[in-house]
Symmetry: C2
Subunit: 136 residues, 2 copies
DNA sequence: GGTGAAAATGAAAATCGTTTTCATTTAGCT
DNA sequence: AGCTAAATGAAAACGATTTTCATTTTCACC
């Protein structure tokens, strides 16, 4: 346990949002100017490896790190302001567990995501009108 | 409408699996040796822009292109052999639509994914035992 | 069937987040 | 204190994606 690791872990777990390497790097950097980018990256990977967080990728090419909570949740992702809103996915997880069984899969993880536009972005306009609903 | 575009479109829509740029590039390349990578890339992007396909990213850093069908579906992704199995997501989409409304989101798309190990991979062994279930 | 503007193509280079390398430092143990 | 394995930081490597740009092609119009 090095001071860098402690700072990175502490900062990450104090955070509520989904943070990218760069974001966490800037945060710890404001406390310890000498910390390296790779150290932040490595420690985020470590946090994932030990099962305390999970990588999430939401369309833009940036990997974010999401603290694992006991209650499973999904993400509402606003295509306008890039905001992420979480929602409880208990019900869906039940369905998915059943689906996995039916297809002879063991499930190790889920990802449930809805892309759209939040109320604020709709109010501000600049939301294109095609309302295509689809699942990949 | 150029011959390259026609070949790329035709090849893409004849395909049933989730194809990456490289994969489609190799396929069209076997028919027209002179076709360029960027042309394949641009046309896949175009297919997405006009709403006939969707980009999907499944953990590995490779973007794949999934033809949009009228019936919404989710993906079972095998962490062992990387196979993708589709399943009907009608039921889940209903729940998600409701969730979006509750959170004042318009929904433009969904992504439902389950990671795990398929029967074959479990039979072959080499499946680590931790069965952590989680949703990002 | 020309003609010209706008769009598409292909090769190469640029981008940019991620990952690795390697020399140096540090933590943890005896 | 002395030793060894692990961690760190700076820089370079990587690799998929995206852009650039010179050239070619399509297509609407005459
Ligand atoms: Mn699919
Ligand atoms: Mn989350
Ligand atoms: Zn928004
Ligand atoms: Zn498998």
């Amino acid at each position: 346990m090095t001071p860098q690791r402690e700072l990175i872990f502490r900062s990450f777990f104090e955070m509520d949002k989904h943070v990218s390497v760069d974001e966490l790097y800037e945060i710890v950097r404001s406390i310890d100017r000498s910390i390296g980018y790779s150290t932040v990256w490595r420690n985020l990977k470590l946090i994932c490896r030990v099962g305390l967080a999970q990588e999430v990728s939401i369309g833009d090419g940036i990997t974010r790190y999401d603290r694992l909570t006991r209650i499973p949740h999904g993400h509402l992702f606003c295509l306008g302001c890039k905001k992420v809103v979480e929602f409880n996915a208990d019900q869906i997880v039940g369905v998915l567990a059943q689906t996995a069984i039916e297809n002879d899969f063991t499930n190790k993880g889920f990802k449930v995501e809805v892309q759209g536009f939040c109320g604020e972005c709709r109010a501000k306009g600049s939301v294109d009108s095609s309302e295509t609903e689809s699942v990949s």
